[in-house]
């Protein structure tokens, strides 16, 4: 979707302002939000693409006025409500209401080191034929899906070159909507800065974007 999250190339947000000696977290509640991510992922109730799409669907003004971990908090609430796991009444009162479904046990503290060290790769062990190879010229599709996509607006309809083939990965555009993994090749695609931003951009500079097979056409 052409959401506010797709920030690449926009103007007007001001200076970067790095913080000196920044702590890992800025508040206790941020820690709790962060710490809930892996246990909730482990429940299998939603995947990371659904999570990201929930953030993308925040109102634009709200997205810009809230911090990173507020985005996460919003996404947890949104996906859990949409999956029918919690109700607004429960989130308001802070207590589970009524008889609760029997579930597999929550991620235990003893399982944390292993899950941290393993994670969950989006790579799919499947033999899928690549449509492109290193050095191929490609044009990015001019597409504007209303659902989740990992194709930023700034490179649509632009001419690029396949820099490398990362292999086969699940496709976020379908995975975010529970429509399957649709495994396909993901490539690093080279764009000259001038192709993306016009003749005033530096002649020497370039942008590399990781793009899926479904986003690309042969040039």
């Amino acid at each position: 979707m052409n959401g506010i999250h797709d920030l690449g190339g926009m103007h007007g947000f001001g200076a970067v302002n790095p913080e000196k000696d920044e702590p890992v977290f800025h508040a206790e509640w941020e820690k709790r939000v962060f710490g809930m991510f892996a246990p909730l992922s482990a429940t299998g109730l939603f995947n990371v693409d659904m999570f990201r799409h929930a953030i993308e669907r925040m109102g634009a003004a709200n997205y810009l006025q809230t911090s990173y971990y507020e985005h996460w908090l919003h996404a947890f609430q949104t996906v859990l409500l949409e999956k029918g796991v919690v109700t607004t009444e429960e989130l308001r009162t802070g207590h589970a209401i009524g008889e609760q479904e029997k579930r597999t046990p929550a991620l235990a503290p003893a399982a944390v080191p292993k899950i941290v060290a393993t994670g969950g790769s989006a790579r799919v062990d499947m033999d899928v034929k690549p449509r492109f190879k290193e050095g191929d010229m490609v044009v990015v599709k001019n597409m504007n899906p209303v659902g989740h996509t990992r194709l930023p607006r700034y490179c649509r309809d632009k001419l690029g070159c396949i820099d490398r083939d990362h292999g086969v990965f699940l496709f976020p555009d379908t995975h975010a909507h529970g429509k399957g993994e649709k495994p396909q090749h993901c490539y690093s695609v080279y764009f000259s800065a001038q192709e993306l931003w016009g003749p005033k951009a530096s002649r020497n500079d370039s942008v590399y974007v990781d793009l899926f097979d479904d986003y690309l056409l042969p040039a």
Binding site: G8, V24, V33, P39, Q77, Q100, A106, P109, C186
Partner: protein, 213 residues
């Protein structure tokens, strides 16, 4: 009971050790964690363990070890650039948000810098959790269209003939920059070298300075 009294009681209930009212996110997080615990979806001790892991164990000191190893061991560097995930795992770093790693090398003629314009993807196992500026709109919007301007704000002025490559991690690959080894470090040990490597250099918004005498 007066409104004032009820108000105080709420404070005591939610925040026994302070006297300020809870903020909106604090209230929402507290409620969510409680509900999910009662439903058996999370174990708060696991939440505690995750926080502790990323506050104390996982951080840019991990990536610094990878960089120092690459500087002193040409064969390791070759493996690191060919298959980042595997070579980083050799030093014991792997997992969440670093499942599939790509390492890009800075040279005299090429400077790499990382961004995630769509969200805030970042290589957790080697760099830890991202700083706030990396996740915020100014960096994400600007570094892709004006990398030299943003790098200047970080105090890094690059010559026009240096090629700037911006890597936008739009898929599930996570990137890390292999910074250049600063001059005057020939006699340093691998551990001393690792101590020179900064998070910002591994994002690509800084170059490493020679050690002070």
């Amino acid at each position: 009971m007066s409104d004032h009294h009820r108000h105080d009681e709420e404070h005591d209930h939610h925040h026994p050790h302070g006297n300020r009212p809870l903020t909106e996110p604090e209230l929402r997080v507290k409620a969510l964690e409680q509900v999910l615990t009662e439903k058996g979806l999370i174990d708060t001790a696991a939440v505690d363990a995750l926080i502790e892991t990323y506050e104390t164990k996982v951080g840019p000191h991990n990536g610094a070890r990878v960089v120092a190893r690459a500087w002193v061991d040409a064969d390791y560097k070759r493996r690191l650039l060919a298959d980042g995930t595997k070579a980083i795992a050799e030093l014991g770093y792997s997992g969440i948000q670093g499942e599939d790693m790509v390492v890009v090398e800075n040279t005299d003629t090429v400077h790499n810098v990382l961004v995630c314009t769509l969200c805030s993807c970042y290589p957790w196992p080697t760099l830890g959790l991202p700083p706030a500026w990396y996740k915020a709109a100014p960096y994400r919007s600007r570094v892709i269209i004006d990398p030299r301007g943003v790098l200047k704000e970080f105090g890094l002025n690059l010559d026009d003939d240096v090629e700037v490559r911006v890597w936008d991690s739009t898929a599930e690959l996570r990137y890390m920059v292999l910074p250049q080894r600063p001059p005057g470090t020939e006699k340093l040990t691998e551990t001393e070298l690792a101590a020179l490597v900064t998070r910002d250099a591994m994002i690509g918004v800084a170059r490493l300075a020679s050690p002070k005498r």
